[in-house]
Amino acid sequence: MSAAELGLAGSVFLACAVEAVEALTIVLAVGSTRSWSSAMTGTGGALLVLAALVAGLGPALTQLPIDVLRVAIGGLLLVFGLQWLRKAILRAAGVRALHDEREAYASEQAAARAAGARAASFDGYSFAIAFKGVLLEGLEVAFIVLTFGANQHRIGLAAAAAGAAVLLVAAAGVALRAPLAGVPENTMKFAVGVMLTSFGMFWGAEGAGASWPGADAALLAIVPGVLLVALAIARWLRVSQSATTMREVAPKPAAEREAIGA
C-alpha cells in the first residue's frame, strides 16, 4: 500500500470512527429507552442510503478529467478540512467545549422519554431519530469516502476503511451497551482535520496547475507541517486563554479598587 493509499485509508477510518461514535450514542439512547428493533431498522435504512449514495456517485466522479477532479475535490476537502481543524483546535485550547457523549446520551434519552407512548409493534420515533442521526453523521463520511476515493480511483478501499470503522464501533457498542465516552474524539477530529487540509492543499494546488517539489513525496512534508502549525496555534490559544482567565480572577491593585469605589 502506498503512502497516499495509507493516508486515504487512515483518514477515512478515523473520520468514520468518530462519526460512528456520535451516531452510536443516538441509536443506543433511543434503542434502550424505546425500541431496539425500530432503532436498528432506522440505522440499517440510513446505512443503505449512504451506501447507495457512494455506489451511485463514486463511478460518475471517477469519469471526470483528473485536473477538474483534483481542483474540485481539493477545494472541497480544504473547505471541509479547515472547518474540522478550526473546531478541533478551539476544543483542544479550551475555547470551545468538548463533545461529551454521556451528556449527549442523557439528553437523547430524556427526549425519547418525553416523546410520549410508543406503539406495540413499530416505534416511529425510534426509527426516525436513529435514521436521521446515522444519516447526518454518515453524510460527512460519505463525502470523505467519495472525495478521497474518487481522486485516487480507490473508492473500494475508502469504503472498506469506512466499513471497518463502523463494524469496530458497533462491536464496541454492543459489548459495552453504553456510549463510547472514553474515545478521544477531539484527538481523532484533529487528525482528520490535518489529513483533509493536507490532501486538500496538495490536490487543489496540483489541479490548479502547480507542481509540488518532490511530487507525491511533498505530502511527507505537508502533513507534518500542517500538524505542527495546528498544534502551535492550539498551544498559543491555550496559553493566551489561561492568561486572560488569570487576569480576570486576579485581585485588582489598591489604586484601581479605589478608582472604581470598591
Binding site: V79, L139, A208, G209, A210, G225
Partner: protein
Amino acid sequence: MSAARSALLAVWEFVVGDDWRTALGVGLTLAATAALAQTAVPAWWLMPLAVLALLALSIRRERRRR
C-alpha cells in the same frame, strides 16, 4: 420555502458550514494558484501560505465571537 431552495440551503450548510469567508478564500486561492501556474514563477508555495492565513483568520473570528 420551496423544496429546491431548502435542498440548496442544506447543501450550502453542509459544504460551507458557518464560515463562508474561508470557503471564499479557498476559491480565491485556487484561482490565484491557477493564474500563477500560467507564469514562469513556481505556484506551489501560495497554497500553504494562504491556508495558514485562512486558518488563523477563521480562528480569530470565532474567538472574537465568543
